[in-house]
Structures are given as C-alpha cells and as structure tokens.
Subunit: 247 residues, 2 copies
Amino acid sequence: MPTSRRKTAPGRTHLAASAATPTATARGSPWRASRERVRDRQVKREAVIRAAAHAFNRKGYHNTSLDDIAAALEVSKPTVYYYVSNKEQLLFECFVAGIEPIRTAFRNARSPKAPARERLKTVLGHYGQAVASEFGWCMVRAEDQDLSAAMSAHIKSLKSEIDQGIRRLLREGAQDGSIHPCDPKMTAFALAGALNWIAHWYRENQSMTGAEIAAAFITVFENGLNPRTGAAAHRPAANRTTNGLER
Amino acid sequence: MPTSRRKTAPGRTHLAASAATPTATARGSPWRASRERVRDRQVKREAVIRAAAHAFNRKGYHNTSLDDIAAALEVSKPTVYYYVSNKEQLLFECFVAGIEPIRTAFRNARSPKAPARERLKTVLGHYGQAVASEFGWCMVRAEDQDLSAAMSAHIKSLKSEIDQGIRRLLREGAQDGSIHPCDPKMTAFALAGALNWIAHWYRENQSMTGAEIAAAFITVFENGLNPRTGAAAHRPAANRTTNGLER
DNA sequence: TAGGATAGCTACTAATGAGTATGATCCATG
DNA sequence: CATGGATCATACTCATTAGTAGCTATCCTA
C-alpha cells in the first residue's frame, strides 16, 4: 500500500527483441556505459526489467531484493523505483514480456490456411522458446500468491487466453482430421504443462536451444507412446525445417 | 546457520497414509483434541508437517510464516520448533512425503513381468496422484534456491532418481516393442513436466480426482496428436479400470 | 540565464519474520 | 513426595528488506 505518486504507467513497448537504440548494449547496464546520463527512459526501464528477470531466474522472486537488482545495474535502489513502482510490478512486467510472443504467435495462427496441426506445432514452438527465454521463468512462475488481486486477475486472464487458444486448435484439428480426437481440456493441460516445465530444468542444462527443445517435445507429442503399427513408424528425423523459430 | 542443539533427527516413518493411532484424527490438530498433553511425538510431528504442507499449498513457501503454521495448529511457534529444527526442514519433509509413494511405485515396477508400457502407465498413475496429493505442491516446487546446499543436493538426487526411472522404462519399452521408439531424455522431461504441472492448477479445480487426471493424461501420452490411420483410432473410453490407483 | 523537469543518491522508516532465552507446567518414576 | 525429563508459552533478539523523505545535480528551454 505504498501510495506511490510516481506516474510510471506510460511507455508500453513490451521489450520484445532487445532494445531499439544501439547506443546501449542489451547486455549490461545503460548506466555503466557512459558517465554522462543517457536520457532514454525506455531503454533504462527495459534494462531494469531485464535485470530483474535475470535475478529472479537465478535466486527466485522472494530471494531477490531490490538492492540486488540495483547493484546488478550499478545504481541505487531509489533509481530502480524511479523506473518501476514496486517489486510486484517488476514481476508483472517480466511475465508480460515472456507471454507476449506467445500471444502474437496465436494471433498469427488464427487463419485456417494450414491444417490445425501445423498451426499448433508452430504455436507450440514459439511457446517452448518463450519458456526457454530469459523471461520464461518469470512467466511460468508468477504466482497469484505473490501478487495483488488486480495483477493476479490480469495474469490469470492472460494465461487463460493461451489455454483457450490451445484448446481451440485441438478442436479444429479434430474437425479437419489433422489431429487425433482427444479431450481438448486435458490435452491442453498436458501440452502446456510439459512446455512450462522446461523453465525448471533449462537453466541447469542449456545444451539445447529453445527451438531444439520445442521441436523435440513436439515430436513426442505427435507420436505418442504407443507403437505405430502402420507406416510412419519412425519420427520425421527431428525436422530441421526451422519453421520461423530462429533463436 | 542456527546451530540447533535439538535432536529431531530420529523417528522417520514418512507419514504415508495418515496417522496410525486413531486417537488423534488426521484432520485438525492433535493438541486440540484433549486438554491433557498427548504423549505421542510422532503423531504431532506429522501434524506439524501436514499443517505446513497445507499452508505452503495455499500461500506459498515464502508467504507462510511459522507463526501461521503454529496458529493453524493452535500452538505457539516454539512448539513447532520443538518438533522441527527449522523452516527449511519443514519444506524438505513435505517434499519427501510427496515423493516417497512415487519411489515405491518405481520399486514395484522393476520386475519385467509386464510389458514396459504397462509398468510405465502404472508408475505415471501413481506419479500423477502424488502430484495431486496434499504434498504435491511442495514436492514439485521445492526449489534449491530456498534450501541449503546439503538439502538441495539431496532433493536433486531424489528427483534424478525418478527421472532416470522413467527413462529406463522408456528404453525397456522400446526394446520389448510396447513403446514407440523415442528420445528417452526428452520424452521423460515431457511426461514428468506435464504431470508436475498438475500441481499448479489442481488446487483451483478439483473436479477430478488425482487418479482420473492421471488416467486422462496417460491417454493423451499414449495416443499422441497425430491421427491414427489404422485401427484403435478411438481412445479406450478413459479406462475406468482403477488399476490400483484408488484415492 | 533563470526555472522547471529529469535523474539520481544518502540515509532513513517501518514492518516482518526466523529463531531463541527463559521459565512454567505436566507426568512418570523412585 | 520430589525430581528430572518432556512439553509448551511469553516475550524477546536480530537481520532483512520494501519503500520513502529529502536533497543534489544536470539538462533543456524560454
């Protein structure tokens, strides 16, 4: 209940693909670069959020203090508060940064120009990459217990949107025949859960890229465990088509 | 580093199926039962751990204070410390209580009297139930960031044991022909991830039992997303055989 | 070149919560 | 009946940390 009078609301750019200006490198602190103060609020704000995501990744939300984040940027704590209203918002911004690419992937997969299975594969590929990204941990682990009622509801609605999107594609696939008929709800839970869990082990083992993991998972999902009696018994060689899923 | 001189080490019964003595009901506090002090350390200790698991479920580890747990049991905080050396150990005990049934399921699935796929199904069924149990959240979410190095290593080894068990069954299934050939590592990640994630949504939606969820997930895993060209195109009606997975 | 807006720091407050010192009470046993 | 161990409560200590008050310095603009 900090009654912050600061107006940090505007400036939504959803720090998608690194910063815009090449003056400040995405790695490291924009403050560190030069002694004179760079007057680019947006770049610095994104740097704060990135630093927060990085710290949350390593130590967890509750074990990270705002002093830690400030120290990583080589500034003081009030400077962090100058760009962000509180710690909770920091977590929220990380969550949004993680989930946003998934939402755009869904928007691109709406038109039924391809069979639903192919569209689902593409979406799940982006999903897996998002979970393996620097914001994946925050996206997956942002818990309503740590957030105010309003933010919790906001996050829950965004998550539900993703869930409903997967279910819809599963239903469409059952209709156009490209997906084995299944219970959409449970199947969506299983798919999302498997992908979400990537965030838990990816930090420890980064031997594969996010795209590779996503491709491997999709192969598992497609084939299933039961042995195929007919043709197509072998998996399609971990398809390296790189369907727009660069990393 | 609280250099606790208390000797709370012995008395490992791994609170499996509720308490043994029927004097104290499993629900509620053994203290509440009678005014005179019941002299059964083990029952009370398990009640403390259950109360901790319950609180961690609802509010998360970091948002739960030991005062909360003590209040739920209607005792004071030093009483809790009389049965448990610190908060970290409380989380650890919840983790062990959650993972122990899975370990026994694996031990029972070792002898190759049945095809590996059937054994894997049974194990995954128990796995799903464990995740949906009162200790599931703690088991799944016990993070090394919140634990000392020793406990973190212990938990990691237990988790690895489960992981290796799944991989072994997948390999055996590929050999005896009961499971579609796959990458054991990635497939095990996908299976465990999907099941682990149950803990995230089960609290909010308990419309199904753990056994039902496990059965539904297994159906998804078995069939896969690709449509089956040959026979057995329909899923086996969410088999209600209740293969020893009561709840 | 004055004045306002921007950007930042030092040094605090206030609350929370883990863990403990100390002592009271109960019970079994000799 | 006393005595020692088991059990539990009151009332602390102490460290951490979110968030702020108040001040300083810099830049842009009129």
